[in-house]
């Protein structure tokens, strides 16, 4: 599993509070803890008003890179902002994101051609966010072809089949998993990721939904997630599911994680 740490995001109230108070130490803390708990990339998203988005992102990126070596996942809905932030990265990371929306592929793909940058591609287009798995697959296919045309290797592409909210769409997981299966059957090297906490939006006790979604989606072939690796429940689900799916030889990763205290009952107080 490729873990993208989700916490440095101004859409999360606690992080927004730190951004507004210019609380550097909190940002350092969540950059460090997410890295320690296994994040392969750290998502950075301003979540602030457009006129200060650039300044906020730059501030976040500087703090993160001064704290850890973990590569960045630069997250903005404005491709111009992403393009301006890329030169600040000390090493290639992940672009979050492109999609079938007009202009996004055209802006990003030529820039990362021939580099080690990877890209998250969302399965939405000018018609919106599809719920039909076949439509999700069709958009993914177009995005993959477009990325390949710009010389990207298949394993540099992360498709996010955009999980919809369970509270408003009962078949959300089923549709997501079907899309994952369709994409993985044709493009086994392409990664599938998900900003999965959207599944439980508007529901109580979200962690029950999020952990089970993670397990079920992994069993359909999802091999990356944008999540909080510092959550003990998410981490335990991750290691246990990987072992159950036969991805963990002799269950050594699970056992090692237990011995290191990464998973297991909370110790002391």
């Amino acid at each position: 599993m490729i873990i993208i740490g989700e916490k440095i995001n101004g859409f999360i109230p606690r992080t927004l509070q730190a951004i507004e108070a210019k609380d550097e130490s909190y940002i350092r803390e969540i950059a460090k803890s997410q890295t320690e708990f296994g994040a392969d990339y750290l998502d950075v998203c301003a979540g602030t008003a457009p006129e200060i988005e650039r300044d906020t992102l730059k501030w976040l990126i500087d703090i993160v890179q001064d704290t850890v070596d973990t590569p960045l996942c630069i997250d903005s809905s404005d491709v111009n902002v992403i393009l301006e932030m890329m030169p600040l990265a000390k090493k290639p990371g992940v672009i979050n994101s492109i999609s079938g929306e007009v202009g996004k592929c055209e802006a990003i793909l030529p820039v990362i051609q021939g580099t080690d940058w990877k890209v998250i591609a969302l399965t939405c287009d000018p018609n919106g966010i599809p719920t039909d798995p076949q439509v999700k697959f069709n958009i993914a296919e177009t995005l993959i072809a477009n990325a390949q045309a710009h010389g990207l290797a298949l394993d540099s592409i992360f498709i996010d089949p955009l999980v919809t909210t369970l509270a408003t769409q009962q078949t959300s997981l089923l549709s997501f998993n079907e899309a994952v299966r369709l994409i993985k059957a044709k493009y086994p090297e392409v990664h599938i990721t998900s900003g999965l906490s959207n599944i439980s939006f508007g529901m109580p006790y979200r962690k029950a939904i999020n952990t089970q979604f993670l397990a079920l989606a992994m069993s359909a072939g999802m091999d990356s997630a944008i999540m909080d690796p510092t959550s003990a429940d998410m981490r335990a689900t991750l290691y246990a599911t990987d072992a159950l799916l036969g991805n963990d030889e002799y269950t050594m990763n699970y056992l090692t994680a237990f011995r290191q205290g990464l998973i297991g009952p909370a110790k002391k107080a």
Partner: protein, 216 residues
């Protein structure tokens, strides 16, 4: 005639079977149009209970959606008695859409259902709509309120441009503008030039009712 208080409470408690039983018994009793209006009003009052409980944190988004579906089903069944769609009269017209550059729709659709439950006429122009589309619809449908939805940071500038387009079209003084979506705050409301903002669909419906002078 049925016990409208019982109906209101059952809608509020989301007791679908009991609500259906009450409605079926009512429909079997050769009701008048006036009776049907009273029943619809009881549904609306019950939906309000659901909204209040949502604000209190006792109910969740799924409960709102479910209440909306019960209401829509009731309107379908009552339609033949009511002459035409809805409850006959409407309290105002709302133009609703997701602003340019954004394609999220869940909050918008929920707001639409709740507005309809509150007797508004709703013109939903869809997602990723340019400023001019809102202005055109506001003129064409003689709107009282324009609702702008958006979740992305880029939606904020689209909201501002949409308010500008309403000015250019000469309808800004005639309509109230409300913005909603997870990105929206009081500061963004001021920046966009909207009249007000909301944290959720239920709160937004209350503000719309106040604007058109409809009873809560």
């Amino acid at each position: 005639m049925i016990d409208t208080e019982a109906l209101r409470n059952s809608v509020g408690e989301l007791e679908e079977e009991r609500v259906d039983a009450l409605l079926d018994a009512f429909l079997a009793s050769s009701p008048t149009e006036e009776d049907a209006r009273a029943v619809l009003a009881a549904y609306q009052a019950g939906t309000d209970l659901v909204g209040e409980r949502f604000e209190q944190g006792r109910y969740f988004v799924g409960d709102l959606v479910f209440a909306g579906s019960m209401f829509a089903a009731a309107v379908e069944k009552l339609k033949p008695l009511l002459g035409f769609s809805g409850g006959g009269h409407t309290v105002g017209t709302v133009i609703l859409g997701t602003v340019e550059g954004d394609i999220h729709f869940i909050g918008k659709n929920l707001f639409k259902t709740m507005l309809e439950a509150a007797s508004f006429r709703v013109i939903d122009i869809g997602i990723d709509q340019p400023p001019q589309a809102f202005a055109d619809a506001a003129v064409r449908y003689d709107a009282d309120i324009v609702g702008l939805s958006g979740l992305l940071t880029t939606a904020v500038d689209s909201m501002r441009e949409t308010v500008e387009a309403l000015k250019t079209a000469g309808v800004r003084r005639k309509v109230k503008v409300i913005i909603g979506g997870s990105i929206v705050t009081g500061d963004i409301c001021i920046y966009s030039g909207a009249d007000d903002w909301c944290r959720n669909a239920y709160e937004a419906v209350g503000k719309c009712r106040d604007w058109v002078g409809a009873a809560r």
